[in-house]
């Protein structure tokens, strides 16, 4: 029958596309509803960095599984998403306080096979000649990867479509069809769709979809802004960031008011076209507004030029912002809920959607086709977990 499938995936971003791929790989009939086009939401405004040292402890399982999946994912999906695997991240240390904090971080955050180390200014400049001389050294973080997030979402989609999935663009979900405590489908302004299971992958907008199912799953939007420069010859081999994010809370006096206000965790990388992406704010009061703020753009540029002086000679091509789907406890909602049948949550990945997409898609597909996730324990992400205690 028309518009009927085994699984109806809501949202065609990196998470929705990944879920669609892993589900269709099992032979199930999958339909994806996306109100714009692939990666029109947060995935289209992301940095594309996969960095273990900034991953929350609770998400380490999904992260580690994802990162080993990434190694061969281009082959598996039959597509090139500009994966730079096993590169490194260099976090510039500007002062003694940051140095001490970095020493502690490197000690605390050791994982088997994943060890960061502190290197001095000379060694830092050997790796990245363009960084400022005004630094003590840096944290060298190996086994960091990066990719083109839009191409990743398109890669999942292409592979899903080859496995039989149907992606519908321009299909904004305006309601869910709920019968006898079970979600049986969704409606758009022009069509209705039914499925045995509806999977909510709508990221920043997922709380609205959850509400349509009678489920309370709050989303805390966190905006991040970007500046893209004109293309230039390759001068930057990796993602260069600053170790300042570790000390910004304990030592606000070391930072400009705007760096505090916009929660700056600055970083720069150079894409394959030669343009540099400068980004790194975490704005907690943005709501869903994805406009850029002039003083944030200035903050990003001034910080970038401070750490990599030669960026100052480049022109800005464009600026944009994306909104991350944060949650009250910082973890995504993944799994079924007692509140309603036929509805699986897979949203709220905050700033880790790209990094966690492979294992997330795999886990959801395993859960929904085999009864439980096999490679990762996703029970802690249950949508029915207690809400965190309110902050005093």
């Amino acid at each position: 029958m028309k518009n009927e499938s085994d699984f109806l995936v809501l949202g065609g971003g990196v998470i929705g596309s990944s879920v669609a791929f892993f589900l269709s790989r099992t032979g199930a009939k999958v339909t994806v509803l996306e109100r714009g086009d692939t990666a029109f939401g947060t995935a289209g405004a992301s940095g594309g960095l996969i960095n273990w040292i900034t991953c929350a402890e609770t998400q380490m399982g999904l992260f580690m599984r994802s990162q080993s999946m990434f190694e061969h994912l281009q082959e598996e999906l039959g597509a090139d998403f500009e994966l730079n695997y096993n590169s490194y991240n260099m976090q510039i240390i500007s002062n003694e306080i940051e140095w001490k904090a970095s020493e502690q971080l490197v000690k605390d955050f050791k994982l088997p096979g994943f060890e960061a180390k502190l290197i001095d200014s000379r060694e830092s400049h050997q790796l990245e000649p363009s960084v400022t001389d005004d630094m003590l050294g840096s944290i060298y973080v190996p086994r960091v990867h990066y990719l083109n997030p839009i191409k990743l979402a398109l890669a999942y989609r292409g592979a899903a479509e080859r496995a039989g999935a149907v992606f519908v663009n321009g299909a904004e979900v305006t309601g869910l069809t709920v019968e006898n405590g079970r979600v049986v489908g969704a409606v758009t302004p022009t069509e209705s769709y039914s499925a045995g299971m509806v999977v909510n992958c709508t990221g920043v907008w997922s709380d609205r979809i959850s509400a349509m199912a009678g489920v309370n799953a709050p989303i805390h939007p966190i905006r991040g802004e970007f500046v893209i420069t004109e293309p230039t010859v390759k001068f930057c081999n990796t993602t260069i960031s600053s170790a300042q994010y570790q000390t910004i809370v304990q030592h606000p006096e070391l930072f400009s008011p705007n760096a505090i206000k916009y929660n700056l965790g600055f970083s720069v990388e150079q894409t394959t076209t030669g343009s540099c992406i400068i980004h790194g704010t975490r704005e907690m009061n943005s709501g869903l507004d994805n406009s850029v703020i002039p003083e944030v753009i200035e903050l990003l540029i001034q910080t970038a030029c401070r750490f990599i002086p030669r960026l100052g000679s480049l022109k800005i091509m464009r600026t944009y912002a994306g909104v991350r789907p944060g949650t009250p406890d910082g973890d995504p909602y993944i799994g079924l809920t007692d509140a309603v049948q036929g509805f699986c949550q897979c949203c709220g990945h905050g700033g880790e959607g790209i990094a966690l997409s492979p294992a997330t898609g795999e886990a959801v597909a395993e859960l929904l086709t085999e009864g439980s996730a096999v490679h990762c324990d996703i029970s802690r992400f249950s949508p029915d977990r207690p809400a965190p205690a309110p902050e005093v």
């Binding site: 004109e230 293309p231 010859v233 030669g274 022109k315």
Partner: protein
Amino acid sequence: MSDLSIKDHPVLGPAPVRRRVTVYYEGRPVEAAEGETVASALTRAGIKVFRTTEKTGEPRGLYCGMGRCSDCMMVVDGEPNVRTCVTPVRDGMRVEIQHGLA
């Protein structure tokens, strides 16, 4: 001046006398009129190739004349990505073909 110069014009009249300056294209001196753009000076001297593309090395030259298309970009006094169609000449200016990206 080469014969691309418009010395007497039916509407504009005779060319106003302007101070002559010298710019250097790939090391070679090119006479220019003070106040005109680098692109105009090079065009008058019959020079058409301003830069070459990054991937295929193809020649590019003046196109839109209003600072929007970036085809006329050259390395001027060591600085790359200078839009020569909106940059006035200066005596002694060094202008080089920009090969590829800045």
